[in-house]
Symmetry: C2
Subunit: 152 residues, 2 copies
């Protein structure tokens, strides 16, 4: 069944690709209102683009293929709680629902440092579900940073 | 003399291009540490990209030409106070200084709704100067929205 766990598993596969590329392992899947699935992974270092978080990449790609700067009715799956930049883009794109895995106590802007997606002063508030496959999503990140510290 | 007013005037010319394209008139200039100037304007509707704010476009382009996801020592000039998305990207890109024109009481994330760029929980705080050519920057926006209401 194509439920939240199903889609988060696909986002996790994307996060694994990021790790293989020595990028912080975060993956995302954007499910558009027409059922189209757009997948991507974090890649700022390899793409030379400070904005190339997994969420930004699926949002930009979905806008491109939809020929629309708004993605009404879409659902974003992402393995890590979005940061300020990505939360802002989610609001701009009018994404309908956001499902994330692990919380991010350092830079999370949905529930940790900020609560951007429920800020009623902004002109859109998506539905939010956190903690889907949180352990798997978090373990991938922890393993990545542990291995990087060992290399350093 | 190439001072803040000089660069903000160039950003204003970019904002005028946005207005001519029926986009909210915001313009930006990113001055890199080596003196390179990267200019762009707001274009989410015409580019089909929710993230295509003027700031994001100059950051992405500067990263591309620098082949670096960090823009240490750069100064960003932008005609309007950055939003959450752009403020987040400014932090990620490690931009050294941000100079903006008009404040944005609705979505500004530097001094109005949020104070992202001075949040010491995040791992970078650029120097900030607001209010440079604020009247010209704000008048361009007000004129744009007035003319759009008249058309509607």
């Amino acid at each position: 069944m194509k439920d939240d766990t199903f889609y988060m598993n696909l986002a996790l596969q994307q996060a694994e690709i990021a790790a293989e590329n020595d990028e912080v392992p975060v993956g995302a899947l954007l499910l558009l209102a027409d059922g189209t699935e757009v997948l991507s992974h974090n890649a700022p270092i390899s793409l030379h683009d400070a904005s190339a978080h997994a969420e930004m990449r699926v949002i930009r790609e979905a806008c491109r293929i939809s020929e629309n700067y708004r993605l009404t009715g879409s659902t974003l799956y992402v393995t890590l709680e979005p940061c300020l930049m990505c939360a802002g883009a989610i609001v701009h794109a009018r994404i309908g629902r956001v499902v994330y895995g692990a919380g991010d106590p350092k830079t999370g802007a949905v529930a940790s440092l900020y609560e951007v997606l429920s800020d009623e002063r902004l002109n859109h508030q998506p539905e939010v579900t956190g903690g889907v496959l949180a352990d798997q999503c978090g373990d991938l990140l922890k393993g990545f940073f542990r291995s990087r510290r060992q290399k350093a």
